[in-house]
Amino acid sequence: MNEPVINVTGLTRRFGARAALDSVSVSLPRGAVYGLVGANGAGKTTLIRHILGLLRAESGSVRVFGLDPVADPVAVLSRIGYLSEENDLPGWMRVGELLRYSRAFYSGWDDAYAEELRQAFALDPAAKIKTLSKGQKARAGLLIALAYRPELLVLDEPSSGLDPIVRRDILGAVIRTIADEGRTVLFSSHLLEEVEQVADHVTMINQGTIVLSAPLDVIKASHHGASLNEIFVAHVGRGATPAEAV
C-alpha cells in the first residue's frame, strides 16, 4: 500500500484576523516531485512550516510519514531534508564544522556523497558561513539537506534571489533526489518555469486556499498545453511574481 508521505486535512491557520491557510487538504504519495506554487504571501511557507512541525495545527490535522510532526519531531525531522528560504545557517561555523555537526543527527549520512556535493558546489571547508555569498550559503544548506539522502526533501523558495548557476544546482539536486527511488520532493516557488521543469504534480495556492492540485500533465492537457504561468493567471487572476500581475 502506498501510504501518503504528507497528509494534510482541513488545515486552517490564522494570524490575527487574516487566514493564512483556510481548510487546506493535501495528500502527497511517495516518489514524486510536488511543486507548490503561489504568489508571495499565498501561504506556501505556512503550509511547509506545519509539515515541519514548526507551526501547530489550529484546526485540521497534519501527518508526515503517518506521524504528527509536533508530537514526534525527532522521528519526522530525521527523515526530512529541509532548505529554508531564510537560509539561517549559523554564521560562526566553518563549512567543515557544519558538515561534522550535521552528520551527528542523521544515521544515513553518506560521507562520500557529502564530499562529492561539497566539491561539486565548490565549498571550502575552512570558510566561515558568514563569509559565503548568498548563493554559496544556499549550496551549503542544500548540501546538508541532501547528504543523508532524506526520504522527503522540502525546498522552500530555494531559488529566491539566486543567480541562474545556483538555481541550476538546486534543480540538479531535485533531479538527483528523484533518481533515488521512492524519495519525494516538495518544492515551493513563485518561479513557475522552474517548477514546470521538474514537477510531476502541481498544487496552486492563493490567499490560503488550494485553487488547483493535479498532476502536471493532466493540468497541461486540460488547458490545451498552456504554460504554467498562463494556467496560474487563469485560475488566480494574476501572476505568481509581482512583474506578472495582471
Binding site: L52, L54, S84, Y106
Partner: protein
C-alpha cells in the same frame, strides 16, 4: 518624511517607543515624588545609600546603557566582526556621510544630555550633595559619541573592536574619576570633556566613510600560521559520538564561551586594583568581593543572548525539545566551570603578585581559631559553591522566559525586574528606618520562606504536570530529576544544620531555606517554553 534628519528621528522613536514611554513614566513618577516631598516640606535625606541606588542609580544606569545600545545601532550588530556595525542598509540612502554619522550622534548626545537634565531636575538629591550642573551630561554624551565612532569603525582583526572600545572608554572614565578625586571645579571638567564630542564626530565620519566604501583593512595574513593551525586542529577533530554531544558543542561554541571571555577581559582590570590599594585591607576585600561577584553578574548579561535564540535552523534539528534544553544546560555548566576556573587561578596569582596574601590570610586565621578547621573549610566551600551555583542559576533562570521567543514576555520580564529593583530599595530603606516595622519584619521573617515554599512547590507541580501531559520528558527523567532535587535539598539542609547550630534558626526554617535555594520550577519550565516556541 521631509528630511533625512526627520527620517532618522522617526526610526529611533518608532523602534524604541515602548522603552521611551517607560522612561517618561519613570521620570513622571520621580517628579511627582519630588513635588510631594517639597509640598509637604520634608527634608530629603539619604542615610541609606542602598535606597538612593535603587531609586535613581539603577534606572539611570539601565537607561544610559539602553541609550548606548540604541544610538550606536549595537542592538543589531556583531561586536566581534571586522566589518562596521553601522547598518549597511543606510549606506545606499541619498544622504551624505556627514549626515549618516552626524544625525544618530546628534540625537544620541542630545538624548544623553536630556537624561542628565531630567535626573538633575526630578530626582531627590540629598541637600548636602553638590550636584554638578553640566559635566555629567557632557561625560555621558562623550561616552556615547566615542562608542558610536568606535563601533562604526571597520577593524583589521576580529575582536579588535571590543578591546579598543573597552580600553578607550575606560581611559576616559579613569581621567574623570581622577578629576573627581581631586575635586576639580566644573569649568575645568567642562574643558576636559568639551573636545570629546567633536573629535568623536570626526572619527565617526571617517569610520562611516570607510565602511560605506567597503574599505575593511585586513591584518589576518599576519596571523595566517595560527589560522592554519586552528583549521588543521578543526579538521582533525573526530565525529561527534551522538546528536546530543553535537548539540552541546553547538551551544558551547555559540554561547558558552561568552561568559569565560567576559570574565577574562574584566579580571585583569579588577585585580589590578590590588596593586593600587594593596595597603588598605578594606579595599582589598572590596576588590575580592567584586572579583567573586563578577561571574554571576556577567552571567546575567550572557543569559539574555543565550536564551533568546531559536532560529528555524535549530528548530528543525531532529532532536527533542528536552534534548535541546539538556544541551543548553550542559553548555552552561561548562561555561560556569570555565569562568570559575579562571577566577580561581587568577585570584591567588593576583594576591601573590600584589603581596596582599597576608591581608586575606589574617581574617581566615581568626575564623579558623573561632570555629575550628572543619567548619571553616565547610563555610569556605559552601560560600564558593553558593557563588558557583548562583552564577549557573543566573545563566539558566531566564531560559523559561527567553525560550518562549515572545518579545512581549521578554520585555515585560525586564521591565518587571527593573521596577521590582526600584521598589525594593525604598521598601528596605523604610523598613530599616522604622523600628516598629523592623521588629514586625523580624517577627514575620521566619514565616516568609513558609509562604514562598508553597508558591514554589505549586508552580513546580503545575510545570511537572504540564511536562508529564505533553510527553516532553519521559517518566524516568521526571522521577530522576525529582530524586536529584530532593537529594540536593537534603544535602544542603544537612550542611546548614551542621553549620548553623543556633536556636535562633529552627530546623524547619533551615529546611525551607534549602528548598528555596535549589532551582526547580523555573528550570523545569524551560522545555515547555522551548516547545511552545518551536511548535507555535
Amino acid at each position: 518624511m521631509r528630511s533625512a534628519a526627520a527620517a532618522f528621528a522617526w526610526e529611533f522613536r518608532q523602534r524604541h517607543r515602548w522603552g521611551l514611554a517607560g522612561l517618561v513614566v519613570y521620570l513622571f513618577v520621580l517628579a511627582a515624588i519630588k513635588m510631594l516631598f517639597l509640598a509637604r516640606g520634608h527634608a530629603i535625606s539619604f542615610d541609606n545609600n542602598l535606597s538612593y541606588a535603587f531609586v535613581v542609580v539603577v534606572p539611570v544606569t539601565a537607561t544610559f546603557l539602553y541609550f548606548l545600545a540604541v544610538f550606536s545601532f549595537g542592538l543589531a550588530g556583531d561586536l566581534a566582526a571586522r566589518q562596521s556595525m553601522y547598518p549597511a542598509r543606510l549606506f545606499t540612502l541619498p544622504v551624505t556621510t556627514a549626515g549618516l554619522a552626524g544625525w544618530p550622534m546628534l540625537y544620541g548626545t542630545v538624548a544623553m544630555a536630556l537624561l542628565w537634565a531630567a535626573m538633575r531636575l526630578f530626582a531627590l538629591w540629598p541637600p548636602e550633595f553638590d550636584v554638578p550642573m553640566i559635566w555629567p551630561a557632557l561625560l555621558a554624551a562623550s561616552m556615547l559619541a566615542w562608542l558610536q565612532a568606535l563601533t562604526w569603525m571597520p577593524y583589521p582583526l576580529p575582536g579588535l573592536r571590543v578591546i579598543v572600545t573597552v580600553l578607550w572608554l575606560t581611559a576616559i572614565d579613569a581621567v574623570v574619576f581622577i578629576a573627581v578625586e581631586f575635586k576639580v571645579r566644573e569649568p575645568v571638567m567642562l574643558a576636559l570633556l568639551a573636545p570629546h564630542v567633536p573629535l568623536a564626530y570626526l572619527a565617526a565620519r571617517f569610520a562611516v566613510g570607510r565602511a560605506r566604501r567597503g574599505h575593511v583593512p585586513d591584518w589576518r595574513r599576519m596571523f595566517r600560521p595560527l589560522s592554519t593551525f586552528a583549521t588543521v586542529l578543526a579538521n582533525r577533530r573526530e565525529s561527534f559520538p551522538s546528536a546530543a554531544r553535537a548539540q552541546v558543542w553547538f551551544e558551547w561554541r555559540a554561547h558558552g564561551r561568552s561568559l569565560p571571555l567576559l570574565v577574562a577581559i574584566l579580571l585583569p582590570f579588577e585585580l589590578g586594583q590590588l596593586f593600587i590599594h594593596g595597603d588598605t585591607p578594606k579595599l582589598v576585600f572590596y576588590t575580592l568581593a567584586v572579583v567573586l561577584l563578577t561571574p554571576g553578574f556577567m552571567a546575567g548579561f550572557v543569559s539574555a543572548t543565550a536564551s533568546t535564540s531559536n532560529p528555524p535552523f535549530l528548530a528543525t534539528r531532529p532532536l527533542s525539545s528536552a534534548s535541546l534544553i539538556a544541551a543548553k544546560l550542559t553548555a552552561t555548566i561548562w561555561s560556569t566551570a570555565a569562568a570559575w576556573l579562571l577566577v580561581l587561578a587568577a585570584v591567588p596569582l593576583g594576591l601573590e603578585l600584589s603581596g596582599t596574601w597576608p591581608v586575606v590570610i589574617e581574617p581566615a586565621r581568626r575564623l579558623h581559631a573561632v570555629i575550628g578547621t572543619p567548619r571553616a573549610v565547610v563555610i569556605g566551600l559552601l560560600a564558593l559553591s553558593g557563588l558557583i551555583l548562583w552564577t549557573w542559576k543566573r545563566l539558566v533562570q531566564g531560559l523559561y522566559i527567553g525560550l518562549t521567543g515572545r518579545a512581549s514576555l521578554i520585555k515585560g520580564n525586564v521591565f518587571l525586574t527593573l521596577s521590582l529593583l526600584c521598589v525594593l530599595g525604598p521598601a528596605l530603606h523604610w523598613m530599616i528606618g522604622n523600628s516598629l516595622v523592623r521588629v514586625a519584619v523580624v517577627d514575620v521573617m521566619g514565616w516568609l520562606p513558609a509562604v514562598l515554599v508553597p508558591i514554589k512547590m505549586a508552580a513546580a507541580a503545575w510545570v511537572v504536570t504540564r511536562l508529564y501531559r505533553s510527553g516532553l520528558l519521559s517518566d524516568r527523567v521526571l522521577v530522576t530529576g525529582a530524586a536529584c532535587w530532593c537529594a540536593a535539598v537534603l544535602a544542603l539542609y544537612g550542611v546548614l544544620v551542621w553549620i548553623v547550630s543556633t536556636p535562633l534558626f529552627p530546623r524547619s526554617f533551615l529546611a525551607l531555606v534549602a528548598i528555596l535555594a535549589i532551582p526547580l520550577a523555573r528550570l523545569s519550565a524551560a522545555p515547555l517554553a522551548l516547545a511552545w516556541n518551536r511548535h507555535r
